[in-house]
Symmetry: C2
Subunit: 548 residues, 2 copies
Amino acid sequence: MQDNLIRIFDTTLRDGEQSPGATLTSAEKLEIAKALAKLGVDVIEAGFPAASPDDLEGVRRIAKEVGTAKMGRSLPPVICGLARANKSDIDTAWEAVKHADQPRIHTFLATSPIHMQYKLKMDPEEVVEQVREMVAYAKTYCDDVEFSPEDAGRSDPEFLYLVLGEAIKAGATIINIPDTVGYTTPEEFGALIAGIVANTPGVEGVIISVHCHDDLGLATANTLAGIQAGAQQAEVTINGIGERAGNTSLEEIAMAIRTRRQYYHLETNIDTTLIARTSRMVSNYTGIPVQPNKAIVGANAFAHEAGIHQDGMLKNQNTYEIMRPDMVGLSHSKLVLGKHSGRHAFKNHLSEMGYELNQEELDTAFQRFKELADRKKNVTDIDIEALVSDQIAQPVEIFSLEGLQVSCGTMGLPTATVRMVGPDGTVHVQAAIGTGPVDATFSAINTVIQAPNTLLEYSVNAITEGIDAIGEVSVRLEAENGSIPKRKSPQNNFFQTRTFGGHGVDTDIIVASAKAYLSALNKLLYASGKYGQYANNTKLLQTSEQAA
Amino acid sequence: MQDNLIRIFDTTLRDGEQSPGATLTSAEKLEIAKALAKLGVDVIEAGFPAASPDDLEGVRRIAKEVGTAKMGRSLPPVICGLARANKSDIDTAWEAVKHADQPRIHTFLATSPIHMQYKLKMDPEEVVEQVREMVAYAKTYCDDVEFSPEDAGRSDPEFLYLVLGEAIKAGATIINIPDTVGYTTPEEFGALIAGIVANTPGVEGVIISVHCHDDLGLATANTLAGIQAGAQQAEVTINGIGERAGNTSLEEIAMAIRTRRQYYHLETNIDTTLIARTSRMVSNYTGIPVQPNKAIVGANAFAHEAGIHQDGMLKNQNTYEIMRPDMVGLSHSKLVLGKHSGRHAFKNHLSEMGYELNQEELDTAFQRFKELADRKKNVTDIDIEALVSDQIAQPVEIFSLEGLQVSCGTMGLPTATVRMVGPDGTVHVQAAIGTGPVDATFSAINTVIQAPNTLLEYSVNAITEGIDAIGEVSVRLEAENGSIPKRKSPQNNFFQTRTFGGHGVDTDIIVASAKAYLSALNKLLYASGKYGQYANNTKLLQTSEQAA
């Protein structure tokens, strides 16, 4: 197949979500999938349905709600589910994706000597046979089947041609080549793809895809080298999140192809003006920050701009600028609404920003907006985005915070008092001291909720400029006991450690910290399965139950 | 010149420090320069001495103290100062670097059509003439002269060969090729270097250097492509910091060359086991965080490790690992000292960590360690590093914080009271309310210190695991009035906006916030020049005066 379109296959919700602590709720996954559809990605890899019943449900909801909606596109995106090369995983993947207008099953098996010997304990002939059988099995469900030879970057090329030829013969429509461990150089990876294009039987009828990791900082260059050698699909994540150093960044590939189109002569379907917003959403929901010097989406990526305009001494803005901030949807925060803005103006503004809330959600958001406008002079798009995304990200409220009172400083013992309402409606009031106000607050919450855990990460960002800014707190914690049902990793034969992220926003960072911690603890409690019966008063679970 | 050594030219203190908000004090620059020398970098670009008298002084101290000390190496590092291609800049650069055992002057002039026309307003003949004259002028001071044709990536190759040939004839020993705007692809950049190697008269007697930016996420690949085409020096920064999307990362180049040495057949002098520590120091001092999915130095870059060891189900660790964490100096935080540890053990431990403190500094650090050990069960290397680096980073104490008392939460108005001592010894006590405890605290400090400013950034990280963690706060602010003396940018004909960063650590994040804000305000006050007379009680200024 020959054309100039590079298909963007986004795996933020699958490979990206495997990042430590990036655990997303079903509601968050759905919101991100909608944003990806609007952004123009061609394929959404929505998860690994065999990991757990929750993961299956998450992919199913995306297939139903995003995989059938055009949202201004000519077709809904392809919804893809990952499956190891076995019947059970493929059955589960199909259960999840079959509701989409364009479903895809993505199955994989390792082909490198080290993986075949130590992980699979299979000889090469057995690997070929299993690939042939399982691609054919997936094909009985689904026309669109993608096959990946895991650790292709360290596989014998001749063996790869053989395996891939058999996969194509068995019905694979997409052949994806992963550099699983981020080991190759651009020359090597380009040569690998060129070799596959030249030597694989039947390759002319399928699309070659590339999937790179950034362990040596070469993911973007490797992906572009693969594309120049003939690949027509790039597997990427927003902000480059993913295990270890992460995956290739969607934004870098989209902007390299756009900025250097005279060089690459290629295009994507990405609406680059939605990149900044999608990047912020993924960072908020996963709790994984973007460093200021990250290409395209870092806070400083376009920071020249201010100085240049202030001084007005450069006559030609191309002197130091190869991309304009508006190309990726960046504009200066501006006063958009004040304390006298009405509900109608607020709703219209949310709609322009891409948020469609129902009446009840709108009521809550409007009330929070008015509270904020009372405290903060300038309410910007980013403030509003923070409020709404915080609201979406707090769905399972088993315990809720009713009140918090804290005293701290250098002159006494940091002390916090919390008032919380439990799942049965009981009000709990507890006080605790700590090494600081956050420690005291978390200790007080722990006195109410008996869920032993280890705090792995804690960070705060002022998400808007100025001294009266909204603060956003992200936490990540790990359950200490073994009571949390496990979740399978697709690559390894062992279960993943379950960590839980939470975030909270408030102009008071101690209040935001309490919200974030409680949000993570509520996720932990929900995952334990013990509180399902109490939780049916919340929005997310109602939606889940309707979907089930 | 032909050998297999790639010279690492670190420009963290020059191009890295041009990142918005990365402003470093002279004391911080000196500490970073010492760490770079230990890390094994061949050349330290210590600053742009013509920017301001402070910058000149910072480079001079590094030339004197780091440029003359072997620190376990066969020779001290080359100390390099940047100068535009004019006599005044070159004079100033020489004043700064001449104290080093191996001084270098680095001068540059733009050679791309767009820069020559719009920025320099010179025709190509004038550019050639100025390069010839200024390289020859620098050579009258210094044997080692580096020349860079700015925006080489967008320059006409034939014109480049001519300019570079003239620079070499005039005495340049290093020819550095910058991709100033991060626009090129690896193929293009490799071809540019190959063209220069093949066509520049006299090139066989000099070292070719490459200097890339990461605007499209290709800096590492471009640098490696340049090296494969014949470059023998790579210009890099720790954590890839720098203007916009930053520079090539030192750690990615060092680890790509090490991990793929069978492919590149090259080596560097970098002791990779010091990478993690140097990365943390630069992140702490500049206040620029490293994202978890950053290659090599991100918190998740080696995160596989835990799962693999916990489960013990993988028989061969190379299955998913191409580098081991200990190669970059990462080890799990461990209990190193407890509340009963004595001063001698503490001093020995600091020494092992690379910190050599004088008696007075040691007294302060030990007292802070004991205070911490009283509050926090496990005191780790990272805690101690935070304490000591915080102490080094708080040198100019014009106003100091004596006490802070804060109350906040959902049940009242956030209120803060500060007690501060001014430069003349006067005690000030002020209370203020705010949108949250941080806003209230900053407002109270503002009531004491009348220095109108805009807060640009505020962030908090828990730098150690666990609920009783030490929190580190970074702030960045901009002076509102025009009273701050300006500082020149080397690339543009206008002055840089002066922003001031501060950081503070404490187990109480509100106390840490107050320290961070006060540290940034003290830098602002010091830069205003009005408080010099009061500040001579501080360590940094004494050292400065002795050096001047």
